[in-house]
């Protein structure tokens, strides 16, 4: 105790020299925004002590930019403690609300201000993300001590996310905005286009090995539909994965199911319109990306690139599938199918990426539970189907129908009632049910066998950076479920056989609650559960999305290493699926704006909010208007010859032409001719793939040959 009179000039810097936190503060200077300065002080009380996972601090009155979701740094004796700001509470010394009421009671107008306003402090709860000790070899869990709190720098945020310990490629998933100012390379505060101080933004990184396996895997999006967040972000993240993987020489592909309108059929069209299409984009209701989007892409180091290697697969429109009559084999390679496919991408010059899906009976015989109603599928029916499939070698409806008629005639002749142990009534029932299959799976199923020729198939191996869209938006629910189930099953088998063709495959399934409902059964659910459980080891990861997380199989969610939450409704958020989130976080989710998500990742100790720019591709509806010639926008805005150029680029060689060269050479050629050249060239190129002929033939030489032939033919017709 010092004694005697002391007159003190209030200068807090005098106390700083004695602070026990001087060493950690100095050591971790690069982790705290000292330019912004102290934003508050840690408080710890008997009722609400600081712990390893949670601490509290009160904020300086002038810290108006500080808010929920910001990342801050406090200190323990020998460590910097980085955490995310959660619940704010404003405290005053008022004992009860009534005290304030009686203060004004009968005497003062409600808007009258007293000369002194009762002091209030804003106390924030902080959830600890990570702690960094002075020594590299010490993992500290010690709580913060009373002392200053600072905004975290990008370096601190990266550390908190565990980036330096990532075993895989860091993939930017969201952009976190803090309350401190962004500083440019010259050390100046960044000013945005509105003249305001720009806030510090940092990518929220995901570890590739925890997103795409093998350490952990899978991602899940939940949130109300209509806010254009789940699919948009899934596309943004897929683009980020593609770019980052390419930079590190790893191959990756994605399989997507388009279940709504034109959502996923224009993924090869950039969100940034080429100059000649700016007006068309605007007319379609899409003004392109905003300045903030460009800044966001720049700050996370991503290019705004559409998915160039896009393939769309669609079944035929109902009743328009080839193979009517009694055609034994449908040769799809020679079919003109584009006009008949059940997809919204129909514009000539844009549909060269669209391929058909057509099934014979054969695959259906392996999944009778998916084909027939449960009531029809008794043991007798199962046995008969197995008979046709395994012993009779039936592969088409035509063959089946012929065989059954033969059997029935045989029974009629002999007067018998059984064939191969199967009763005549069962055979008649089977005939009846099989006859109904064409209409049940209308557009997908044909009577004969199917020969794809050299056409790509929806369930074939993938190529690097390929985005494969299965367009089932306009199909009936029988076709939808059958296609999703069979394609995912097939992909899963390919994965088990290590025949995916790429290092990693992303399977995006929207409406996951429909395909893998909580407490549900079914082969697709089982496959999805299997993928969720084992997929990360077999290089298949599930990107699932749904409106109601609580309605999705718990095993799938439990295996998800990364989860994103958009706006969630109040009826949904009370479910157990959200119990690990704090009440403040839940309240935030109730009103989360478009373009903002909460992310949980295997490396993060606490969930984090972040925003993301618009995806690098044009929104489906706008793409439909611009590129499919809808809503008064002429389809001629895109040159049909560009399909030839894209094809040439897909098979790169020394003679790959420029876009101008292709357009010049194909000038005047009809769209139908160009489409035919495309189909022929692609099939030819696929047929020589892996053979010695591949070295002698280039796509461009074949295209040139096709153009010459087409000109001759058109001249001849005239």
């Amino acid at each position: 105790m010092t004694t005697g009179d002391v007159v003190i000039d209030i200068d807090m810097s005098a106390f700083r020299a004695e602070s026990p936190l001087d060493q950690p503060i100095a050591t971790f200077a690069s982790m705290i925004d000292q330019r912004h300065g102290v934003i508050g002080r840690v408080v710890s009380s008997e009722k609400e002590p600081a712990g390893s996972n949670v601490f509290y601090f009160w904020a300086g009155e002038d810290q108006l930019s500080l808010d929920i979701g910001h990342i801050v740094v406090g200190f323990s004796e020998e460590a910097a403690v980085i955490g995310v700001v959660d619940e704010p509470r404003r405290f005053s010394d008022l004992r009860s609300f009534l005290d304030d009421f009686f203060d004004r009671h009968l005497e003062e107008a409600l808007d009258a201000e007293p000369p002194t306003r009762r002091p209030e402090i804003l106390v924030f709860e902080v959830h600890v993300l990570r702690t960094r000790h002075l020594r590299q070899d010490v993992v500290s869990q010690r709580p913060v001590v009373s002392g200053p709190v600072y905004f975290a720098t990008r370096q601190a945020i990266d550390y908190a996310l565990g980036v330096e310990e990532f075993s895989g490629v860091p993939i930017p998933a969201l952009l976190h905005t803090n309350g401190n100012a962004a500083i440019d390379e010259q050390g100046d505060v960044v000013i945005d286009e509105r003249g305001n101080t720009a806030f510090q933004r940092s990518p929220l990184w995901l570890d590739e090995e925890y997103l795409l396996g093998p350490e952990a895997g899978h991602a899940n999006w939940t949130g109300q539909s209509g806010l254009a967040t789940k699919t948009s972000h899934a596309l943004f993240l897929t683009s980020a994965v593609f770019q980052r993987m390419a930079e590190h020489g790893k191959s990756v592909a994605a399989l997507l199911f388009n279940v709504k309108g034109p959502d996923l059929v224009w993924l090869d069209k950039s969100a940034v319109p080429p100059p000649e299409l700016t007006g068309a984009y605007r007319k379609a209701g899409f003004s392109g990306l905003e300045e903030s989007d460009f800044r966001a892409y720049a700050s996370i180091g991503l290019e705004i690139e559409p998915f160039e290697n896009l393939r769309i697969f669609a079944p035929f429109k109902p009743g328009q599938q080839p193979g009517g009559g009694h055609q034994s084999v449908v040769n799809l390679g020679s079919e003109k199918y584009h006009d008949r496919l059940n997809t919204l991408r129909t514009a000539i010059g844009e549909r060269d990426r669209v391929y058909p899906i057509l099934w014979s009976l054969e695959p259906l015989l392996y999944m009778p539970h998916k084909v027939f109603d449960r009531g029809d599928l008794d043991d007798k029916m199962w046995g008969l189907i197995a008979e046709f499939r395994d012993r009779q070698g039936i592969t088409s409806l035509n063959a089946l129908s012929d065989r059954i008629r033969e059997v029935l005639a045989q029974l009629d002749d002999s007067g018998g009632s059984e064939w191969q142990g199967h009763h005549k009534a069962t055979i008649l029932k089977a005939l009846n049910r099989f006859n109904g299959l064409t209409s049940k799976f209308n557009g997908l199923l044909t009577d004969g066998n199917v020969d794809y020729g050299n056409l790509p198939r929806a369930d074939s191996s993938f190529t690097n950076q390929e985005v494969r869209v299965i367009d089932i938006a306009n199909c009936n629910s029988n076709v939808q479920e059958l296609l999703v189930t069979s394609i995912i099953d097939r992909v899963w088998k390919m994965a088990e056989e290590q025949n995916l063709g790429v290092d990693k495959l992303i399977v995006f399934v929207d409406e996951l609650n429909k395909y893998a409902p909580n407490g549900g059964e079914g082969s697709l659910r089982n496959t999805l559960v299997d993928i969720a459980a084992r997929g990360r080891h077999l290089n298949v990861v599930l990107f699932g999305a749904q409106q109601f997380r609580s309605k999705v199989d718990a095993e799938i969610l439990g295996n998800c290493g990364t989860s994103f939450y958009g706006r969630v409704g109040d009826e949904e958020i009370i479910n157990a699926s959200y119990r690990s989130l704090s009440e403040t976080t839940k309240a935030e989710l109730l009103g989360l704006p478009k373009g903002r998500l909460l992310v949980r990742h295997a490396h993060f100790r606490a969930p984090l909010f972040g925003a993301f720019p618009r995806p690098p591709v044009i929104p489906g509806m706008a793409g439909q208007r611009v590129f499919n010639g809808e809503q008064d926008i002429p389809v001629t805005i895109s040159n049909p010859a560009d399909a030839l150029y894209r094809l040439a680029k897909r098979f790169p060689a020394n003679d790959t032409p420029t876009q101008g060269e292709v357009r010049t050479l194909a000038d005047g050629l009809s769209a139908e001719s160009i489409e035919r050249i495309c189909a022929q060239t692609e099939q030819r190129m696929r047929s020589v793939e892996g053979t010695s002929a591949a070295t002698r033939v280039t796509a461009w030489s074949m295209i040139q040959h096709g153009i010459r032939q087409a000109r001759d033919a058109e001249r001849f017709r005239r």
């Binding site: 105790m1 010092t2 004694t3 005697g4 009179d5 002391v6 007159v7 003190i8 000039d9 209030i10 200068d11 009155e61 010394d93 008022l94 004992r95 005290d99 304030d100 009686f102 203060d103 004004r104 005497e107 003062e108 107008a109 009258a112 201000e113 007293p114 000369p115 002194t116 306003r117 009762r118 002091p119």
Partner: protein, 328 residues
């Protein structure tokens, strides 16, 4: 490590009694300066900022340090400061206007070798020593008798501590009076004025001395909230100076003690009458927000409460690891 409760916390009620001023401090008669009818004058209610900008208060802690035989040796820690209200939400201590004092309270004249050693040791280390029985220094018998009364000595020590706190407050008031703000801002001092100070209001919360008697006392006790009495003049014979004084009722006392919510306001008397109505309105406005965490809230204004909270934390920091009473 043991902590120890301060005498103020332990003997709080006694402290109240000690607030009684000496009988001879002020004249027993008063001189009315305004008409006595009406006796209860309504004070205009105002909202928003006032010209009261500064607030002065002090706080103290008296702690057991050592004991020798039945003689307690205590420590006094006091703090006094001026708070400036820069805006309704910005209240700051005025730089250079915070006074801290730490002293040992030792009955130096006790004929005890241990006490003598303690005093010598304290002086060697330039520690301040205050004798709580100093006022009995010339009465040897009374001094000796007081040494045998442990409780009495504690009270004396607390009074000495209070005097040290008042010294600090008085010094700050003098500093203020030497350089009052040019903008005409006023200072509210929590307590009775002891010497003339310009632009300063003394606000007395306790009702330990009754200046108004007789029929006017009856009217005073019935005075409604938001009213004041006429102003009267009081002379301080001990310290010198004259003061313009009036009472002001903060809160309605219906159904309560008649002194409830009653404060005494004092302003240095000069030839120019103070703006009693304006000052009353300003002070009345200061009752909000209520300092409801303090039992004295009906007569306490919030900035003084605010300042007390700051000072108490200063004191708490000073004595955080106080070990409690030890044998000397």
């Amino acid at each position: 490590m043991r902590s120890s409760v301060s005498l103020e916390d332990r003997l709080g009620e006694l402290q109240q009694l000690e607030e009684l001023p000496s009988e001879d401090e002020r004249t027993g008669t008063i001189e009315w300066m305004e008409a006595l009818s009406p006796f209860a004058i309504p004070v205009e209610s105002i909202a928003g900022p006032t010209s009261i900008r500064y607030f002065l208060d002090g706080s103290q802690k008296t702690l057991p340090g050592y004991f020798q035989s039945a003689i307690p040796i205590l420590a006094s820690v006091t703090a006094a400061a001026v708070l400036e209200r820069r805006s309704p939400i910005d209240l700051q201590l005025v730089p250079g206007m915070l006074k801290l004092n730490s002293s040992w309270l030792v009955p130096e004249k006790a004929e005890s070798p241990a006490i003598g050693q303690f005093v010598a040791s304290a002086r060697t280390s330039e520690t301040a020593i205050v004798d709580p029985l100093d006022h009995l220094a010339n009465d040897h018998a009374a001094y000796r008798a007081a040494l045998d009364d442990y409780i009495g000595l504690e009270r004396e020590a607390m009074s000495a501590s209070r005097r040290l706190r008042r010294q600090g407050e008085t010094e700050l008031l003098r500093m203020w009076s030497h350089d009052p703000p040019a903008d005409g801002s006023w200072l509210v001092y929590d307590g009775a004025l002891r010497e003339p100070v310009p632009q300063t209001v003394g606000l007395v919360k306790s009702f330990n001395r009754q200046y108004i008697t007789g029929e006017y006392a009856d009217q005073l006790f019935r005075m409604p909230a938001g009213h004041r009495t006429p102003m009267f003049r009081v002379n301080d014979r001990r310290h010198g100076g004259s003061y313009a004084v009036w009472y002001l009722r903060f809160w309605d006392a219906q159904g309560r003690d008649p002194r409830y919510g009653l404060v005494r306001v004092e302003v240095t008397y000069t030839s120019e009458l103070p703006p009693v109505d304006l000052l009353s309105a300003w002070i009345l406005a200061e009752r909000r927000p209520r300092a409801s965490n303090d039992a004295r809230w009906p007569t306490l204004i919030y900035p003084i409460h605010y300042l007390e909270q700051i000072l108490k934390r200063y004191l708490a920091r000073e004595v955080r690891y106080w070990p409690g009473a030890r044998a000397a």
